[in-house]
Symmetry: C2
Subunit: 221 residues, 2 copies
Amino acid sequence: MPAEASPLSPEAFVFDAYGTLYDVYSVTARCESCWPGKGAPLAQLWRAKQLEYTWQRSLMQRYAPFSTVTREALAYACEALGLELSVAQMEGLMSEYLRLATYPDVTDSLSRLRTKHAILSNGSPDMLLPLVESSGLRFDAVISVDELKIFKPAPQVYELAAKKLKTEKSQIAFVSSNCWDALGAKSYGFSVYWINRGNAPVERLGFKPDRVLKSLDEILQ
Amino acid sequence: MPAEASPLSPEAFVFDAYGTLYDVYSVTARCESCWPGKGAPLAQLWRAKQLEYTWQRSLMQRYAPFSTVTREALAYACEALGLELSVAQMEGLMSEYLRLATYPDVTDSLSRLRTKHAILSNGSPDMLLPLVESSGLRFDAVISVDELKIFKPAPQVYELAAKKLKTEKSQIAFVSSNCWDALGAKSYGFSVYWINRGNAPVERLGFKPDRVLKSLDEILQ
């Protein structure tokens, strides 16, 4: 019988990237400089559509890389808000995704982490690898859903991380600030830490996170 | 070779229910009477979460009936907005879903439609059948995704309608006000009419609707 899942002493940590380590709303300033007064609503709608399109395309069985989905979400969001988007603005905003800010608790927490740790992200390699590189963070593996052509929270995505890390799923702790992502990982069989920086309610998807933390620091405690 | 898809003379019309025939925001008044000043934001968040949960549960392979998803979405939305939800309020609001208002253009348009027509809905039979009954609308078939245990826009859902109606997909016109639903149907192979009552942009999912209409009346023209 495999050992019981233990969120407190896992063999490996697997981190979500966008929204967990990297702040997707750090694009807001550039949005604001393009369209004064519209930075915050644009950044919010861009992110919301980006997520919706990952779910809808996965269900339609019409996967497109996250870079394509992110561009399409930006085009939609600008049109919905009545903002004209030039090619140069599109490229400028997309380039922001290659250098998103890390949250303040990330760099120190990860540098002190002695356990094997990896990223599991919706990001296609063309977006994800430059971002990780520019941030200076180090991982034992950077895993993209791109090779499966389906997005989170499909169970095969979480299974990919267990396979790549050659680690039993019960021995993996998954860390995400996106509650639906944490619960998708829980449904698959990981132990999960939900990083609830914004004091949001738990999503109602039939599962609960093993632990709810305010910041990444707490996973080391 | 099968005949070309013709959105203008289909053998059957298939209609989405929630948001297309039935106004999901007709619950707003009851939300407002429970929590004055919060009716509109509650109704909006309730609907947004209801949809998110259908996509996320489908991808997680953790289907639950639409009645369960709708209750869970309401519970989340109330907690997120800081509203206490009693059992009586939950039951009262859920009962509103059994008698949603039809949009003003629905009854007359459907009564004049001589072509075979059906509903294809995410709604589980416990919600959908009482709603159709109470509205007095008549259909040749009322089809729920519930027997497949997956929600729109999975292609097998649209295929279910073609099978039930014993009609080639190229001869079916699908009608939805939810653009992502219309595009899911297009991706599967139906001709699609997107009823764009709110003048929204087309969703960016790699497909376009065959026709964009302002109201249901126009499908008869």
